[in-house]
């Protein structure tokens, strides 16, 4: 588990984003146990306080649920998980559209190209943050 | 208890140079004794051949030889040097052990105490080695000359008593011995106080050794001046009391100064 952090963005938000992606991709299933905060801090080599803050943020966004003295779990609320997926797709498309608009490509050409490249699987599926 | 433990560490750290020093002293003295007896025997044979020798050897002749006096001088110098070094050693290099000692969650004076006791043990140890070595040297001396039929004059005690360098080692009574030890402690205390003052100021000014010397110099000079003023005005017994009080005063002031600098001002 490696995250390439951006030094200019709050680390805890980057951690939240990282988990959102995992949930959206189904790498973390609904109701699955989250890694412990301590493990995560050691693995990511970041401050445990930051992890704590990230977990708190995820709880507030209802991505995970925490009961007393239990490991946190991914939410079982399908709406939330769907919303994450939508959010991520929307974000990615927004970025994509913004950069493609600069190239002045027609919609048809674009759709055509997407279809072709998508079909070949020639896509970079690096799990990176923004 | 902590003092004892630290004493163990200090002694262990001093063991190697100390053993080298003792070996050096003993080997040098016995080598010199061997040479002395060999040359004296030869000379005596020479005289015996030419006439009647009216020549008596004493143990003092051996003690008066330069190598013997030199060996005592080396021992004294080594102990004076070590009184400085036992502190400066811990300030050496980047890896200063003094830092470790000062960081100990213990009273800092145990460091002082351990170093003082270590010095005293080492000095008493040297005394002891010398006492034993001298006795053995005398036995070797007299039995060799007896076997060579060379007359020996004077006793061991006589030779010792008239030797300026050795007489402080053989005081007339046990009380005097203790008093001599107190004087030795005082010398060490002055050296310790010097080091602690110097080490407390060294980061502030380049003159720290000079300031330390001036401070201690004043501490020595003032009572000594008073002593000369009083000397002609007091009787011997009264003078002894004054000297006794003066020594006690010096001891308390040096310990007090050392304590002040060690606990409040020392810089690593």
């Amino acid at each position: 588990m490696i995250i390439q952090f951006n030094t200019r963005a709050p680390v805890y938000i980057q951690v939240v984003d990282y988990f959102k992606k995992k949930m959206a991709l189904g790498e973390l299933q609904a109701g699955e146990e989250m890694p412990s905060r301590r493990e995560l801090a050691t693995e990511l080599k970041i401050n445990p306080n930051t992890v704590q803050k990230a977990f708190k943020e995820m709880e507030e966004q209802q991505l995970i649920t925490t009961e007393r003295n239990r490991p946190s779990r991914v939410t079982t609320d399908e709406h939330v998980l769907k919303r994450i997926r939508t959010e991520l797709v929307d974000e990615a498309v927004a970025v994509f559209v913004e950069s493609i608009q600069e190239l002045d490509v027609t919609m048809d050409e674009l759709v055509d190209k997407i279809k072709r490249q998508y079909g070949e699987g020639n896509i970079n599926d690096r799990s990176t943050g923004s | 208890m902590n003092l004892l433990k630290l004493l163990g560490w200090e002694v262990e750290r001093a063991t190697k140079p100390y053993l080298i020093l003792i070996t050096l002293l003993v080997v040098a003295q016995f080598a010199w004794l061997g040479f002395f007896l060999w040359s004296e025997t030869n000379m005596y044979e020479e005289i015996r051949r030419t006439g009647t020798p009216d020549y008596v050897l004493t143990f003092a002749n051996y003690l008066g030889g330069t190598p013997f006096i030199l060996s005592i001088g080396v021992a004294v110098a080594a102990m004076v040097f070590f009184s400085f070094w036992i502190w400066y050693r811990d300030f050496q290099g980047r890896g200063t052990f003094m830092m470790r000692l000062l960081l100990m969650p213990q009273k800092r004076m145990i460091v002082f105490g351990a170093k003082l006791v270590t010095m005293m043990l080492m000095i008493l140890g040297l005394f002891s080695v010398q006492w034993i070595a001298l006795k053995l040297q005398y036995i070797a001396f007299s039995s060799w000359l007896d076997s060579q039929m060379i007359p020996v004059g004077g006793s061991f005690e006589q030779a010792i008593r008239f030797d300026g360098a050795l007489s402080p080692m053989y005081p007339a009574s046990f009380v005097n011995f203790l008093i001599h030890q107190v004087l030795i402690v005082l010398v060490i205390l002055f050296i310790f106080a010097f080091v602690l003052i110097e080490r407390s100021l060294w980061q502030r000014t380049l003159w720290s050794p000079i300031i330390a010397i001036l401070m201690l110099g004043a501490l020595i000079a003032v009572p000594v001046t008073a002593f000369f003023f009083l000397e002609s005005r007091l009787f011997m017994d009264e003078m002894m009391v004054v000297v006794g009080l003066g020594l006690m005063g010096w001891m308390s002031v040096t310990v007090w100064l050392s304590r002040l600098y060690l606990t409040k001002k020392l810089s690593v």
Binding site: A9, V11 | P105
Partner: protein
């Protein structure tokens, strides 16, 4: 909480620390940042009473410092170089009442140290690990580290960084000095920036990222113009 209040220090003719005040919280990692020779080490040594400040006070949880509760890890060994790691441990056990041999054994294991090694045979990185292990095994509430990463190899750095996010450091307050912030960018809760003997910035790292979108290095660049 370690409170440093209005401390000053002069060396020879140079005022190394003009006037410095800051705090370091328990359970947080506070980083004292400054270019070389700005008096970072002097401040740590001053807090520990190794080079007394000329003025000012240092309080730990409102009281004068108790060496049982605060440990200092300098950037060099404090033991004679011919000592073995075992001997260092023996010394610590003798005179540091809270020294925890089990914790030390665990650290020796994690750092892959060999107790019979002599200090002068160790690489800089290994030596740094030994120092750190000796410091942490004192089980202190606060740990002060002077330049723990300077001049050591990448793997040792990584091991040390991992240690900071592990349970061993849980609940301890850490005050760390460094001039290379990159190594611990993501570890630090709070940064205190020092320039010309004064504190120029004292900030919560995540706050600055969140509000200003700036990294610690960005802030350093602003302050030091480098």
């Amino acid at each position: 909480m370690i409170e440093v209040l209005g401390v000053k220090k002069r060396y020879r003719k140079k005022q190394v620390i003009e006037e410095v005040s800051f705090t370091a919280q328990k359970g947080e990692i506070t980083c004292l940042i400054g270019l070389n020779g700005t008096g970072k080490s002097t401040i740590l040594k001053g807090i520990m009473g190794l080079t007394p400040f000329d003025q000012g006070t240092v309080l730990v949880d409102g009281k004068p410092i108790d060496l049982n509760r605060v440990a200092f890890v300098p950037d060099h060994s404090t033991f004679p170089i011919h000592f073995t790691i075992e001997q260092c441990e023996a010394f610590m056990r003798d005179f540091y009442p809270k020294f925890d041999p089990k914790l030390f054994a665990r650290l020796v294991d994690e750092f892959k140290l060999f107790p019979e090694d002599k200090l002068n045979e160790l690489s800089k990185g290994t030596l740094a690990k030994v120092n750190l292990a000796l410091g942490i095994a004192q089980d202190p509430d606060y740990l002060l580290l002077d330049e723990p990463f300077s001049g050591i190899d990448v793997f040792s750095k990584e091991q040390i960084v991992e240690l900071f996010s592990s349970d061993i450091m849980e609940d301890r307050g850490v005050l760390i000095t460094t001039h290379e912030i990159e190594d611990i960018e993501y570890l630090v809760d709070k940064a205190v920036m020092l320039n010309r003997g004064r504190i120029v910035r004292e900030f919560d790292v995540e706050d600055v990222r969140f509000i200003h979108g700036k990294s610690i290095v960005d802030v350093m660049r602003e302050e030091y113009g480098a």
